[in-house]
């Protein structure tokens, strides 16, 4: 949590303000895409290409996000129909069958226990709303979905907090230990012989006799040791990027629709605060404590986001009194949250195509629908171990996000200039950003981002063991999948996924080049009008 909040203050909130300010500034001159706005702000021939990631990231993330969104809708429907609450449901198996994780091509089925029909529904639902425009589409959905989401989350929170000790046979797994698992700053983990965590206690003295033998070892999860671990900072920064949607190109486009007198300082802070309230105040108090109460530490450890959301939580709901109702509303909640996000990912692409190629919304929707449709079909078909999804998520949803966020903050602090940027940010603002953030945005945030990105490359791409005396480089799975190793050949799906990203990048660069000619013409016209 310490790393998380430091990342929020040094990366999250500053970049939020940067994106809102740059977006509103570009929108004032009728630019709504990242490339167009960068081209306008920097007035250099190469500037528009810097913004290309602002098109690639949301479009590529949308391709797999819509697939995950279909899981949420599918799980909500299956929970309502009782398929997730029957006796003896193997949730891991259900997830594997539903998503087609067993083999490529098997997810292209259209029963209610398969993802296919939900992909089609979700895909058309997204384009229906995006075609209806901003006010009658995205705004309408968010206006009702977001309060509904918070309301449903509060109901589930009350249910989780009042569960007490769900299984009297396991008195160690109650609401207090569940909260302690998440919030206790330091702890001692009990590991089995395979190195898997089976339980966690506040200190060594609290470990019961059953774990005090040779079959178990203890691992000290000391707070300061944790803070020294680069992986923790990478995870905290990555979480901040994703939860606040910074570096996506989404906020820039949304902010470009604001009026001159709108308050971007308060809007940026409110957006960050609302996200944090939902993530820390609601999500943090629901998911992990609930999973711990029913499954214990061993059930949670090693579960990624998908494992926790689609394997562990359905199991939790199955144990819970009234679980079918709570599972239904929980997955409906996830679906509502997902659809507001996926709509936001389409809008930057639509805005770029409309303003750059000067085509209508209908044509933009058709072009983007085709491109994202091909991408989603690719991810949907290559579903084995969710390899295509995972590979694109790593290279686009993590690596490109870091790059885009760094470019943004450097353009604001150094390209636009911190003085000018500060003045633009405070136009129409009721509250002022503390002056300390001038130094943070200009120096600290770029340095922090570059350091974390450097560490990320060294660790997650080159696999350096952080030792100078005995330096070893063992590229992690994502790189090994591409280049292969002595024992295993390269993974064909990973290579195809990266090839798809490269094709998308080239396609986007060509579009930016074409758009650049239109933007030049528009800038000349604006200059002429100004001189008259």
């Amino acid at each position: 949590m310490i790393a998380y909040f430091i990342s929020l203050l040094l990366i999250g909130i500053p970049i939020c303000w940067v994106e809102w300010t740059i977006g509103r500034h570009g929108g004032k001159y009728n630019f709504h895409s990242t490339s167009g706005i960068f081209d306008f702000i920097l007035s250099k021939p190469w500037a528009k290409y810097l913004g290309v990631i602002g098109f690639i990231v949301p479009v590529c993330i949308y391709m797999y996000y819509v697939y995950i969104e279909a899981w949420c809708l599918g799980y909500a429907v299956n929970a309502m129909s009782g398929n997730l609450s029957g006796p003896g449901v193997n949730f891991q198996e259900f997830f594997g069958t539903f998503t087609g994780a067993s083999a490529d091509g098997v997810a292209l089925k259209f029963g209610f226990k398969e993802v296919g029909i939900f992909v089609i529904i979700v895909y058309f639902l997204n384009f229906f709303f995006i075609y209806r425009g901003i006010s009658k589409g995205i705004e309408l959905v968010c206006k009702y979905a977001m309060p509904a989401l918070i309301f449903i989350a509060l109901i589930i929170l009350v249910r989780v907090m009042t569960l007490g000790t769900p299984d009297p046979m396991k008195p160690d797994q109650n609401i207090m230990t569940g909260l302690g698992y998440l919030w206790n700053p330091g702890a001692v983990a009990v590991m089995d012989t395979a190195g898997v965590e089976v339980a966690r206690y506040p200190d060594a003295a609290a470990i019961p006799a059953q774990y005090q033998n040779d079959a178990f070892t203890q691992k000290n999860l000391d707070l300061w040791l944790s803070l020294m671990n680069p992986q923790l900072w990478l995870a905290a920064a990555g979480q901040i990027f994703f939860s606040l949607s910074i570096g996506f190109g989404v906020i820039i486009t949304y902010a470009s629709y604001l009026k001159k007198e709108d308050d971007v300082v308060l809007s940026g802070l409110t957006a960050s605060a609302a996200n944090e309230f939902c993530e820390v105040g609601l999500g943090g108090l629901i998911t992990v404590p609930a999973a711990f109460m029913f499954l214990g530490a061993a059930g949670i450890v090693g579960q990624g986001t998908f494992g926790l959301g689609f394997n562990v939580l359905p199991e939790v709901f199955a144990y819970m009194p009234g679980g079918q109702i709570f599972a239904s509303i929980f997955f409906l909640l996830l679906f509502l949250a997902a659809i507001t996000s996926s709509l936001s990912m389409l809008q930057p692409g639509i805005a770029f195509l409309e303003e750059g190629l000067e085509i209508s919304r209908k044509q933009s929707c058709a072009l983007l629908g085709f491109v994202t449709g091909v991408g989603t079909l690719f991810i949907w078909y290559f579903s084995k171990d969710l390899k295509a999804l995972d590979t694109i998520d790593f290279w686009v949803g993590t690596v490109m996000l870091f790059i885009q966020a760094t470019i943004l903050v450097i353009i604001f602090g150094w390209g636009l200039g911190i003085k000018k940027g500060w003045k633009i940010a405070h136009e129409g603002a009721e509250m002022r950003i503390p002056n300390i953030f001038k130094v943070i945005i200009k120096y600290v945030t770029p340095a922090f981002l570059l350091t974390i990105f450097g560490m990320f490359l060294l660790q997650n791409v080159f696999g350096w063991n952080y030792s100078f005396s005995d330096a070893q480089f063992n590229p992690t799975g994502y790189v090994r999948d591409l280049i292969g190793s002595e024992d295993t050949p390269p993974n064909m799906v990973s290579r195809l996924s990266v090839a798809w990203i490269i094709i998308m990048t080239i396609f986007s660069l060509i579009l930016v080049n074409l758009a650049g000619k239109n933007w030049e013409r528009r800038k000349l016209n604006q200059k002429k009008e100004a001189s008259l």
């Binding site: 009658k136 302690g180 919030w183 206790n184 308060l266 605060a273 105040g281 919304r361 009721e430």
Partner: protein, 53 residues
């Protein structure tokens, strides 16, 4: 849950909740709350002009 756990939870949840409420109150009480929020400056907002958006 240890004392440290309680402190961490109360500070974290308290901070994000207070910040969220502060922002919401500021937004609802600010001058922008009385302004019309239609996006007429960006796109035609009439239902029958959907093709022109």
């Amino acid at each position: 849950m240890t004392t440290g756990g309680w402190i961490t939870m109360i500070l974290s949840v308290g901070f994000v909740t207070t910040l969220f409420l502060f922002c919401i109150i500021k937004v609802l009480r600010g001058p922008a709350a009385n302004r019309k929020h239609e996006l007429g400056h960006v796109e035609p907002i009439e239902e029958d002009k959907i093709d022109q958006r």
